[in-house]
Amino acid sequence: MTDTTQAVRQAAGTRTIRLEVARYRPGQDAEPVFQGYDVPLMSDWAVLDGLNYIKDQLDGSLSYRWSCRMGVCGSCGMTVNGEARLTCGTFLTEYGEGPVRIEPLKGFPVIRDLVVDIEEFLAKLTSVRPWLIREGEDPPLTAEYAQTPEQLEAYKQYSMCINCLLCYSACPVYVLDPDFLGPAAIALAQRYNLDSRDMGDRFDVLNQDDAVWGCTFVGECTKVCPKHVDPAEAIQRYKLTAALRSVLPWSRR
């Protein structure tokens, strides 16, 4: 046992909690298997701290993603005891004596251990053109587009998305149909649709069976979102917009 481990154990007393971590080593495992690790149960440790402890002290081969450790980068999303969670914001003490089951986000192909493949999501995200679209102008670089607080309020909620993909993982429609454009991409499209500075039109991408109309309104995306984005609302609102536009083709947005 290294000095660090000893120090950590001493600080934690003798209490430990068991983490059952899904392992998938391509070429070695045919499918994921669970491996148990005992980590110190510290009151201020998030699940991610437990994983870091495993990686640093017990098994350096464990693979998972994280970066900011503060709910901002969106890379540490995993399935914790069956629920999609940001592991940096989920505390070990939530699970009492344990054990805590940690699996990759559901609904995505697994590259290795807890790391999932998000290529398809990135393609979907790009398809909604998540940037401000302006037409017929070439303003100087110093140009500013002022907005009133109300104009900001109209889309602010949707701009809080950190692309953590918890909403995809919780959405049964996405798990059944991987082509579904999905909650975050639609919420982000709405973020720009509702921005007073945006002149783009995302109707063709959003008004599709695999886009807003694929949503059967389960509402789980909104429940699991750690940033209170409410993608379910974004989708239902766009359904209304799309329906109105189909009846009144000259109306926009």
């Binding site: 994921p32 059944l176 379910a232 609302e233």
Partner: protein, 131 residues
């Protein structure tokens, strides 16, 4: 360069709807649409019987025990469908009044109140017919 090994694609979970309460409620809401459709058919049959002067025959059919059982079930199912659906309505309706966003409970409460009011009006006319 060697291509990276293929990613593992998890098998589809065929019992996903039984895993959490919310998924189960959602699936039940979808399934109860069948009873909503049946209620519409039943009302159309009633209207047809009234217009064609065959109300007595229709009433005899509606009084069959299996028909009563079916309609009691349909009533429960449509109520469940309506309540869960109306509870979701605030998500699809964002109402702003002079910058103030109407809170969800108002939209939800408004929907339920309207539903009760319409039901009461219908009940009034139907029950009056019995006297």
């Amino acid at each position: 360069m060697k291509a990276p090994p293929a990613a593992y694609r998890p098998r589809r979970d065929h019992l996903w709807f039984a895993r959490t309460r919310n998924y189960t409620i959602f699936v039940l809401r979808e399934l109860t649409s069948v009873f909503v459709a049946w209620s519409v058919v039943f009302l159309l049959l009633l209207a047809d019987a009234v217009l064609g002067g065959r109300l007595a025959g229709f009433a005899a059919l509606a009084a069959q025990p299996w028909m009563i059982a079916l309609n009691v079930l349909a009533l429960a199912a449509t109520c469940f469908h309506a309540v869960t659906f109306l509870n979701l309505a605030p998500k699809a309706t964002v109402v702003r009044l002079d910058g103030y966003r109407l809170p969800a409970w108002m939209i939800q409460g408004g929907n339920h109140s309207l539903w009760l009011a319409v039901s009461a009006v219908i009940a009034f006319f139907v029950l009056r017919g019995f006297h």
